[in-house]
């Protein structure tokens, strides 16, 4: 069972919310869901749509073809008619075939055009054969205004269409969340107490989510005057012993790069979330791209140590954000969660794994405390202001106490080597971890290499074509030990950028790229693969 429903209208129609409620309805009866949201850089008008995919198997992507189109306006028909077999539409505003409902006039009569959402949701319930009670209880938990009217609207919609399918409960509900929500929860589970940001699509919803639910999660949020302040405030709070995450997109991240280098030198474990969007520069700001990879891997002047991971769905976002937080603190290096709009703002079914804060190496209280003690593994025991009074962090090259060194070349060498030594130890640790995942046909002569948001499309296209898929989870340290094992035969890199950045780093010649801001669908990728296989 695999059904897709597209809801389309204008910005301001509440399309996104409608999509989420539809997904939650099917989640309630045990289905896996995925939502792709498409919108532009405007607040009212334009054209927004959400594609809700419902399946009895795991899904992490949407398809080009949809089974049902729900049209709030004529534009939706013009743009999406080709995708669909069946249509439900607002007959007050749209001319087309299918099932029309006079939604606008009914909703206006009840006082708010936004009631159209509930009408269409009711209609979808009937159409798919889902019990209306499920929609009612979800809407009660989501809307706080015009509750009675919304209930009436559901009913009106329900009664306006014919039943076509018969979706039955097949299991228990899972969590339904966006990538950004999963990142927020994963960080909180790993001990984050402070989230600092300056708003920037597609990272903003982390700020919104944590501002709203922070109290419950034990997380305080601060919005700063700009991204430079964000990163440096995080340095201050980490230095004072509080796990801190910051979030932004490429342009904002650019402003943090001086501080990335500071984190490396001062050994301050700030956790950076970089959610990519279509660039360069402002580019196509509400659409997706994976073109900040090289920038993030190489950001900061000097030989910068870092850990960078790239989750490919909500479950990985949760687990790996937690992991990165713990690694950043253990190794006292900046950590990076590299995602893109297609993960941050897409909605997934998720069963969350276990994440908890792991204690870093702490000072034993003996002797005088020095922040940068030279140790075998390069990791100096931590202590914080409030506990000691000789904790001295520094952006300068320094001695074990954190005091400036300029002439002593010997100490300069030792500190450079100490920082690199930590990375060696980290690399060894990761050899025991899952740093890549392998899917599909293990005997295939062709391997698709994916990272981040292309995961869903790759797995599905590979399944249909009988190929193998290798997903890279860690980007720094680059798990060459695993890649060498799995990247054999013909390797095709699949990336959503114009130059094939990962392929370039790994020296992979064959690649399938997309750079119009839209993610791959499995169908599209399959077609492109068929052309070259």
């Amino acid at each position: 069972m695999d059904v897709s429903i597209l809801v389309g209208g204008q910005a301001g129609d509440g399309i996104k919310q409608a999509g989420v409620i539809i997904a939650k309805i099917f989640n309630e009866i045990g289905y896996h869901v995925f939502i792709y949201d498409d919108y532009q850089s405007l607040v009212k008008g334009g054209h927004n749509f959400s594609i809700v995919r419902v399946s009895d198997e795991k899904v992490h992507s949407h398809n080009d073809h949809v089974d049902l189109l729900v049209a709030f306006n004529q534009d939706t028909i013009e743009k999406h008619k080709w995708r669909t077999k069946e249509t439900i539409y607002d007959s007050d505003k749209v001319k087309t075939d299918g099932t029309g409902i006079p939604a606008q006039s009914w909703a206006k009569g009840k006082g708010s055009a936004l009631l159209r959402n509930s009408i269409f949701i009711g209609a979808i319930c009937k159409y798919t054969g889902v019990d209306l009670k499920i929609a009612e209880s979800i809407i009660k938990n989501s809307f706080h205004k015009l509750l009675d009217e919304n209930m009436e609207a559901l009913k009106f919609g329900y009664d306006s269409v014919e039943k076509k399918h018969d979706f039955k409960k097949i299991g228990e509900p899972r969590e339904v969340m966006t990538g950004n929500e999963a990142i927020s929860l994963g960080a909180a589970a790993a001990g984050m107490k402070l989230y600092i940001a300056y708003p920037m699509t597609p990272a903003s919803s982390i700020l919104h989510y944590l501002a709203k639910y922070g109290e419950k999660l034990g997380v305080v949020t601060v919005q700063e005057e700009n991204e430079i302040a964000v990163a440096n405030m995080a340095v201050g709070s980490c230095f004072a012993g509080v796990r801190t995450m910051v979030g932004t997109s490429g342009g904002g991240f650019a402003l943090m790069t001086e501080t990335v280098s500071l984190c490396a030198q001062s050994e301050t474990p700030v956790l950076f979330v970089v959610s990519q969007r279509a660039g360069p520069s402002t580019g196509v700001p509400t659409y997706t791209m994976q073109a900040d990879l090289k920038f993030v891997l190489n950001a900061g002047h000097g030989d910068v140590t870092r850990v960078v991971i790239a989750p490919g769905d909500a479950e990985e976002s949760y687990l790996l954000t937690g992991k990165t937080m713990n690694l950043a603190w253990k190794y006292q290096i900046p950590g990076f969660v590299l995602v893109d709009k297609h993960i941050s703002e897409s909605t997934f079914s998720a069963e969350l794994g276990e994440v908890k804060p792991e204690e870093p190496k702490l000072w034993d209280g003996k002797g005088e405390y020095g922040r940068y003690k030279l140790t075998e593994d390069g990791i100096s025991p931590m202590a914080f202001p409030g506990d000691v009074y000789t904790c001295k962090g520094s952006s300068y090259e320094h001695d074990e106490k954190g005091l400036t060194v300029e002439e002593e070349t010997d100490m300069i060498n030792k500190m450079q080597e100490k920082r690199l030594r930590k990375m060696e130890v980290l690399r060894e640790e990761l050899k025991g971890e899952e740093t890549v995942k392998v899917y599909g046909n293990p005997d295939s002569k062709v391997t698709l290499l994916t990272w981040g948001s292309t995961k869903g499309a790759c797995i599905e296209a590979a399944k249909e074509l009988g190929l193998k898929v290798v997903q890279l989870l860690y980007l720094e340290p680059m798990p060459m030990w695993e890649l060498e094992k799995h990247l054999k035969g013909r390797v095709i890199a699949v990336e959503v950028n114009a130059t094939g950045q990962l392929a370039d780093i790994l020296g992979i010649k064959e690649k399938i790229l997309k750079y119009d801001g839209r993610p791959f669908t499995p169908e599209e990728l399959k077609k492109k693969l068929e052309e070259i296989l």
């Binding site: 402070l194 305080v220 201050g236 509080v242 801190t244 001086e258 500071l262 409030g386 001295k392 300068y396």
Partner: protein
């Protein structure tokens, strides 16, 4: 309590930074003697000659990057509001590269103290003009005279909503100490502009020595009077330099409003 680090001081002889170091150390010492825990001090500096001060005071410190002291110490304060955080910045560092942050720290009224070593020149980079270098001044980057008008940071800080705005002179140790003492005691954002010479690149020693005078009969609770007094001296090389507290106002601090009694470090 020994606040010495043993690090060799590399400032030029008679640099104004020496006096600021002496004043700051004396006040910290005083507070520790009065019972503040040495562990609860955390200081930070940016980059510039002034910034070396963190290497010369043996308390918790973060030697940050150019211009970023306010967010750095704000982060410390938010992480652990029990800390007494003090930031040291240069005129280039605090009013130039990092001006956005000091404006916003003032606006928010976060409970931090910023001490600005205002020698009106970029010392460490060997003498380019700074935001407070008088117009016309010949510097390394303006050998034929600075084409920019100088900033009046007292006015800028008043315009940003700061709740404690003071000026002092590096030649008046007691006054400096008093301003730092009061700045730290002030619950909320405090900025202390220390007018001082750079011996090597803008030696206004005689002028400052001769013209700094302590304001009397000034009502520091009146924002309009504060503004008027701020206009008395415009960071030129002419006229008298009033020192003292221009403005002081008590209102809830950002950290209080944000944290509502929580301590993230201890939670």
């Amino acid at each position: 309590m020994n606040l010495e680090t043993g690090v060799k001081n590399t400032w030029c002889p008679r640099c104004g930074h020496f006096s600021i170091l002496a004043a700051a150390k004396a006040v910290i010492q005083e507070l520790i003697e009065k019972g503040e825990r040495p562990e609860d001090f955390a200081i930070a500096s940016g980059i510039g000659c002034h910034a070396k001060i963190v290497d010369y005071i043996n308390v918790n410190s973060f030697y940050s990057i150019h211009g970023r002291v306010p967010p750095t110490i704000s982060g410390m304060k938010i992480a652990n509001p029990d800390l007494t955080v003090i930031g040291f910045a240069g005129d280039g560092d605090g009013y130039g590269e990092g001006v956005a942050h000091i404006v916003f720290a003032a606006k928010r009224n976060i409970d931090i103290t910023m001490i600005i070593h205002n020698n009106r020149i970029y010392g460490l980079t060997t003498g380019q003009f700074s935001p407070t270098t008088p117009q016309g001044q010949k510097t390394k980057s303006t050998p034929y005279g600075n084409p920019e008008y100088q900033l009046n940071p007292i006015k800028l800080m008043l315009g940003s909503g700061a709740t404690f705005v003071a000026r002092t002179s590096s030649f008046d140790l007691n006054h400096m100490k008093e301003m730092i003492r009061q700045g730290i005691a002030h619950k909320g954002f405090a900025v202390i502009d220390v007018v001082e010479p750079c011996i090597s690149f803008f030696n206004a020693t005689d002028y400052i020595r001769k013209n700094a005078y302590v304001m009397e009969n000034h009502d520091s609770s009146d924002i309009n009077k504060a503004w008027e007094r701020a206009g008395e001296w415009n960071y030129t090389l002419e006229g008298k330099i009033p020192i003292g507290i221009f403005y002081k106002e008590d209102k809830p601090t950002f950290d209080e409003l944000l944290l509502k009694g929580k301590n993230l470090r201890k939670s």
